[in-house]
C-alpha cells in the first residue's frame, strides 16, 4: 500500500501548519511522533481545546501540553457530499465526526470516521484515534483520525 492510499481523503487539501506565533506547534509535533497532546492548565488543571495563550478557566498563562490517550465518543457527525474543495471533486461521500474526550475534560475534536462512509453512525459510540501520517507531504504532517472501537477490534464473526 502506498502512503497516499492510506489517507482517508485525497491529497491536495491544505496542509495543517502551526500559526506564525507557534501556538499549536506542540500539538502538530506530537501527532508526528504518534502522541496526542492537548492543552492543560498548570495552575488549575483545566483542559482546553483548541489551544489559546490563556486558560479560559482561571486566566493563567501557564498552560502545559498533556499527553492523553486518543479515545473518545462520537458527539455529533455528518456525511458530506458536496465538494467543498477542488481536491474533493468527484470524491464519494465521507464521514466527519466531532469526538468528545471525557478523560480530558470533555474537550472535542474534529476528524473523519474511518471505514465505510455508508456505515451507521451513532452519537455516543466509542471511538479510538488512528494516526494518519503524511510523510511525503511538503511539509510532512500527521492527522488524528477516528475508528469505531468495534471496527478497531477487527472483523466480527459473521461479518
Amino acid at each position: 500500500m502506498t502512503a497516499a492510499s492510506k489517507s482517508y481523503l485525497p491529497e491536495g487539501l491544505p496542509i495543517p501548519v502551526p500559526e506564525p506565533d507557534g501556538l499549536s506547534a506542540p500539538y502538530w509535533e506530537g501527532l508526528r511522533r504518534g502522541a496526542l497532546l492537548v492543552q492543560r492548565c498548570s495552575a488549575c488543571g483545566g483542559w482546553q481545546w483548541g489551544p489559546e495563550w490563556i486558560c479560559h478557566h482561571c486566566h493563567s498563562f501557564e498552560l502545559g501540553w498533556a499527553p492523553i490517550e486518543p479515545r473518545g465518543r462520537i458527539y455529533s457527525w455528518t456525511r458530506s457530499f458536496h465538494p467543498v474543495h477542488p481536491a474533493l471533486k468527484d470524491h464519494p461521500p465521507y464521514l466527519i465526526v466531532v469526538v468528545e474526550l471525557p478523560h480530558a475534560g470533555g474537550i472535542r475534536m474534529v476528524g473523519n470516521l474511518l471505514g465505510d462512509a455508508q456505515q451507521a453512525v451513532r452519537i455516543g459510540a466509542e471511538v479510538v484515534g488512528v494516526f494518519e501520517h503524511h510523510p511525503d507531504a511538503q511539509p510532512p504532517f500527521t492527522l488524528l483520525q477516528w475508528q469505531s472501537t468495534r471496527a478497531a477490534r477487527g472483523p466480527q464473526p459473521g461479518g
Binding site: 491544505p14 496542509i15 495543517p16 483548541g50 455529533s76 455528518t78 474534529v110 452519537i123
Partner: protein
C-alpha cells in the same frame, strides 16, 4: 433612569429600498453600484434627499465604505459610520440596533443601514473561508480543513444533528421551513425563485449537500443590495409611509459560543440563548406577542434552533410546530420568511429579511401575516455575535 437606557420606541424605519436581486454572477452592475441603487431607492421611499443622510451602518465588513458612499452621494456631513464587528450575517439585525443607538445618543439624524453583496464579483461563501488555492492552513481551521470540514454548511450540519438527536427532531421539520420560504417566494416578483415552486417530493429527491441538509435546505448565493433609513421617533410622522418603530434589539453570544474546534459548550444551539432573552426584555413583549418572524436561513436546521431559542416552541414540540401550515401566511401559527428569505427571495446576508420585517408592520408584504403589529427578525444563527430585532407599529408603543 433605567428606562432611558433602551431603544424601545425611540427610532423608526421610514424608508426601505433594494436593488434588483440576481443569482450570483448575474448582476450587470458591480457591488458598489448596487449599494447606491438600494440607498437611492430607500431615500425615494422615505422622501429623503440623499444629501441629508448623515450616517451609515453595516455588518460583515461590507465593502461599500461610508466615506466612498458619502462622497458619491454628496452628503453634506458624515457623522456616524459603524460596522458590527464579526458575525457575518449575524450582524444583520445588529446593524439596525447600532444605528438606533447612534440616533438615540444624538450622534446622527438620518442613518442608512445597508448590506451590499455581489458574490459573483467577489468570492462565493459556499466554499468556506480561506484563500482559494492555499497550500497550507493554520489556526482553528487547521483542526478542520484537512478533514474536509471546510464550509459553514458542514459545521452547522453537525450542530443541527446534535439538536435533532437531543430533541427527536425529524427531517420533515427542516423540509417545512424550506417549503414555506419557496411558497412565499411564489407571490414575490422580486424573489430570485419567483416562478420556481418547490414541493415535498422534489425536496425529498434533491441531492444531499451534507446530511441533514438537502440542496433546498441551503441558502442561495446572490448579487444585490438592500438599505433602510432610520430616524428619531419624534420625526417619524414627517415621512410618507406608516412608521415602523424599533421595539428591541440585541446582539451577542452565550458563554464561549463559537469556541474553537467545535468546543461550544451548548453545541446543539444556534447562539440566541442570551440574545433572545435580551431582545424580548427591551421590547417588553414575549414570543406569544410576535405575529411574524423573518428567521435567517443559512440552513433550515439553523432556523429550527433559532425559533426554539426564541421561545416559539419547546424542544419536544418541534415536529408538531414546524409544519408547512403553521409557518405560512396569512394564518399559520407563526408565518416565517414571508418574502422567501435567504432560500428563495435573495441571500442578501439576511438584510432582505430586515426589509421584509418592516414591510410586515407597514402591511405591504407580498404575504401579509394576519398578526403583523409585532414583527421579528433573527439574524445569522450559528455565527456569533448573532442578533435579533423586533419592530412594532405605533399601536405597540
Amino acid at each position: 433612569m433605567r428606562d432611558t437606557r433602551t431603544l424601545r420606541g425611540k427610532v423608526a424605519v421610514v424608508g426601505i429600498g433594494e436593488s434588483r436581486y440576481f443569482k450570483h454572477g448575474k448582476s450587470p452592475d458591480p457591488e458598489f453600484k448596487l449599494a447606491l441603487q438600494a440607498i437611492l431607492a430607500a431615500c425615494r421611499d422615505a422622501g429623503v434627499d440623499p444629501r441629508d443622510v448623515d450616517g451609515f451602518s453595516s455588518f460583515s465588513n461590507d465593502r461599500s465604505e461610508p466615506v466612498r458612499l458619502g462622497n458619491a452621494l454628496g452628503i453634506r456631513e458624515l457623522r456616524f459610520s459603524n460596522m458590527q464587528w464579526a458575525g457575518g450575517g449575524g450582524g444583520a439585525a445588529a446593524a439596525v440596533g447600532n444605528a438606533a443607538a447612534g440616533i438615540v445618543a444624538g450622534m446622527a439624524e438620518c442613518i442608512v443601514v445597508l448590506r451590499s453583496l455581489a458574490q459573483g464579483q467577489f468570492q462565493r461563501f459556499g466554499f468556506g473561508p480561506g484563500a482559494p488555492g492555499a497550500k497550507t492552513v493554520s489556526g482553528d481551521m487547521a483542526f478542520q480543513v484537512p478533514y474536509g470540514a471546510i464550509s459553514p454548511a458542514q459545521r452547522f450540519a453537525m450542530q443541527t444533528r446534535r439538536f435533532m438527536h437531543d430533541h427527536g427532531v425529524r427531517q420533515e421539520a427542516l423540509r417545512a421551513i424550506a417549503l414555506a420560504s419557496y411558497h412565499h417566494a411564489q407571490s414575490n416578483p422580486r424573489a430570485v425563485m419567483y416562478g420556481r415552486p418547490l414541493d415535498a417530493a422534489t425536496y425529498d429527491a434533491s441531492r444531499w449537500i451534507v446530511e441533514p441538509f438537502h440542496l433546498y435546505d441551503c441558502c442561495m448565493e446572490n448579487d444585490g443590495a438592500a438599505a433602510l433609513i432610520v430616524v428619531a421617533a419624534e420625526r417619524a410622522k414627517d415621512f410618507p409611509h406608516k412608521p415602523v418603530y424599533l421595539l428591541g434589539s440585541a446582539a451577542g453570544a452565550d458563554h464561549r459560543f463559537g469556541a474553537p474546534s467545535h468546543n461550544t459548550p451548548d453545541y446543539g444551539n444556534s447562539g440566541f440563548t442570551t440574545v433572545a432573552k435580551r431582545v424580548y426584555e427591551m421590547a417588553k413583549v414575549g414570543p406569544k406577542d410576535v405575529g411574524v418572524v423573518q428567521s435567517y436561513e443559512n440552513f433550515t436546521g439553523c432556523v429550527v434552533m433559532s425559533l426554539y431559542e426564541h421561545g416559539f416552541f419547546a424542544g419536544d414540540e418541534a415536529n408538531e410546530f414546524l409544519t408547512f401550515a403553521n409557518l405560512t401566511a396569512p394564518d399559520g401559527r407563526l408565518p416565517i420568511n414571508t418574502s422567501g428569505g435567504n432560500l428563495a427571495e435573495c441571500y442578501m446576508h439576511g438584510f432582505e429579511m430586515v426589509i421584509e420585517a418592516v414591510r410586515q408592520v407597514r402591511g405591504d408584504s407580498p404575504n401579509q401575516a394576519r398578526r403583523s403589529d409585532v414583527s421579528m427578525m433573527t439574524a445569522g444563527p450559528m455565527i456569533p455575535p448573532v442578533s435579533s430585532l423586533i419592530f412594532g407599529s405605533e399601536a405597540t408603543l
